[in-house]
């Protein structure tokens, strides 16, 4: 099975965690960037196209849910996987209702993370495919061919 590299953005205020997870996912063949707060996350999404954002729910300053809100406004096709500490599972569920793809409890099992990353990547890819087809149909209609 050929593994498709995913463009991943990791957002967490724990710098060591971001560094380790980045290295580990890069090792698996993915393109990974790490940032440490909500603002940097939005900035990164403006500069590059990311498939999946791994987002910590509890961060000082702009917290996870607020950041998620902004992500869904500026880059709605990107899929978001929330990382939660304890009792913030409720926050994670709220986040999913706001459009996050799924959530994982910290410390997250790596295999589970990989599965969710792949599932998220697929969903984004399928949505992008649907968009392309719709755009194509739009083009065809304009030139008179249906």
């Amino acid at each position: 099975m050929i593994k498709i590299p995913i463009n991943i953005l990791i957002v967490d205020d724990e710098e060591d965690f971001v560094e380790m997870l980045c290295l580990r996912l890069q090792d698996q063949g993915h393109n990974v960037k790490g940032v440490h707060d909500g603002q940097a996350c939005l900035q990164a999404l403006q500069e590059d196209d990311f498939d999946v954002v791994i987002l910590d729910v509890k961060m000082p300053g702009m917290d996870g849910i607020e950041t998620l809100h902004e992500i869904k406004r500026s880059a709605p096709i990107a899929e978001v996987i929330l990382l939660t500490g304890h009792g913030s599972i409720e926050t994670a569920v709220d986040g999913m209702k706001l459009g996050a793809f799924d959530y994982l409890r910290k410390p997250a099992a790596f295999d589970e993370l990989r599965e969710k990353l792949e599932a998220a990547r697929k969903r984004k890819a399928e949505q992008e495919e649907r968009i392309r087809r719709a755009e194509l149909q739009g083009l065809l209609r304009r030139t008179g061919d249906v």
Partner: protein, 392 residues
């Protein structure tokens, strides 16, 4: 403790036989139960045999006089009230008596009405003293419970705070160790000297992270600032869910799990998540306690106002010295990498939050039964999120 209305037990002490008998007879007519003694020593012996509420005692007696007997009675039977009968020329004996603890005194010759009334007063005082002692004991117990609850609450809060903080460095350790493990698999490191040593050490690190994770997750389950979901829960369904969750583990150990819910369609208004969690904890414990080929039964019975869910195992049972301790946090008889000692502590907490109780019965060599007793309807906590859109 004698409640109001029961017969007052009197002991009448006087060396003058006829006088004593007359008074005793007249007191009995009034409805008192009267025992008799001729002097202080006889009085003490009589009280040893059968306790009285009130002692009516003459002061001037041979062998042991009233005052000495009074002192001895107050020493040995402090709750008994004593009424002294003094000679009409020596009321000072009465005063001395009161100073030594007598309830009151009467000068001879006495009027029976006065005696009766004094005896009743003495008995009233007795009852009042008992009531006060009961109230003080109740209050002390309540205060102790409140302190314990507060302490537990603050421990709980602190524990969850600590657990949350620890999750972050745990995540880092896990990622770092996991990364190292995958690096060791790379072709360029195939010939690395002592590679197995590194792999072994990393495996231990990752296993320990798993263990630590279980503890923090369980601790964090103790204090949940979540909203409860109150809905009608089908008991048959929830038992079924728990059984299917433990099926694999049970099969591995060749343990049979049976559900027995009566009546069939029984339901209960409660929060299904903690209920399921507790049942799961208890059932997992039960499976682990069983020998191979044994049986675990989840029994549910419901009478009008109470639901009883019992998880019974055919395991080794719990020794008496542990019965008190099994609900303590971190108490476990399992080896460190298998038990956190938090399961029952957390479960009891959850059950209490549901308004119920968690009890245990056990017999060595036969097995144990853990029972959840829940009221028909769990009281809604302040933040309720009733969610009956889902079919239960």
């Amino acid at each position: 403790m004698r409640p109001n209305g029961t017969t007052i037990q009197l002991l009448l002490v006087d060396d003058e036989h006829d006088y004593r008998e007359t008074i005793a007879k007249r007191l009995r007519v009034r409805g008192f139960q009267v025992a008799e003694a001729a002097n202080g020593k006889e009085a003490l012996d009589a009280l040893d045999q059968e306790q009285a509420d009130v002692v009516v005692m003459d002061v001037k007696m041979p062998v042991m006089d009233g005052l000495e007997a009074l002192r001895k009675i107050k020493e040995t039977f402090p709750k008994i009230e004593v009424i002294l009968l003094t000679g009409h020329a020596s009321p000072e004996d009465g005063v001395t008596g009161i100073k030594s603890g007598a309830f009151d005194y009467l000068c001879k010759p006495i009027k029976l009405e006065h005696l009766v009334s004094k005896v009743q007063q003495a008995r009233d005082k007795l009852l009042w003293v008992e009531e006060k002692a009961r109230q003080a004991e109740f209050k002390a117990r309540m205060e102790q419970q409140m302190i314990a609850t507060e302490r537990l609450a603050s421990v709980g809060v602190m524990a969850s705070g600590v657990a949350h903080e620890i999750n972050n460095p745990l995540a880092i350790i896990q990622e770092a160790a996991g990364w190292m493990t995958s690096l060791l698999d790379k072709p360029e490191l195939a010939d690395m000297p002592r590679k197995e040593s590194f792999e072994k050490a990393l495996e231990k690190i990752l296993n320990s992270v798993e263990r630590a994770k279980k503890i923090t997750h369980q601790l964090l389950g103790v204090v949940r600032k979540t909203e409860s979901i109150l809905k009608e829960v089908s008991l048959q369904e929830i038992v079924g869910e728990v059984i299917s969750l433990v099926e694999r583990e049970a099969r591995n150990k060749d343990v049979q799990i049976l559900g027995d819910v009566q009546p069939d369609g029984a339901t209960i208004w409660t929060d299904p998540n903690p209920l399921r969690q507790v049942l799961l904890n208890l059932t997992t414990n039960a499976i682990q306690a069983c020998y191979r080929g044994a049986r675990v039964t989840i029994l549910v019975r419901q009478n009008g106002h109470e639901t009883r869910l019992s998880v019974k195992d055919e395991g080794e049972g719990i020794p008496a010295e542990n019965m008190q301790r099994i609900f303590e946090p971190f108490f476990t008889t399992k080896p460190p990498d298998q038990g956190t000692g938090l399961g029952l502590f957390v479960s009891r907490n959850m059950v209490e939050k549901l308004g119920g109780q968690l009890e245990v019965e056990s017999r060595l060599g036969q097995g144990s039964a853990f029972s959840l007793i829940l009221p028909q309807r769990t009281d809604a906590p302040k933040e309720t999120c009733p969610n009956d859109r889902e079919a239960s």
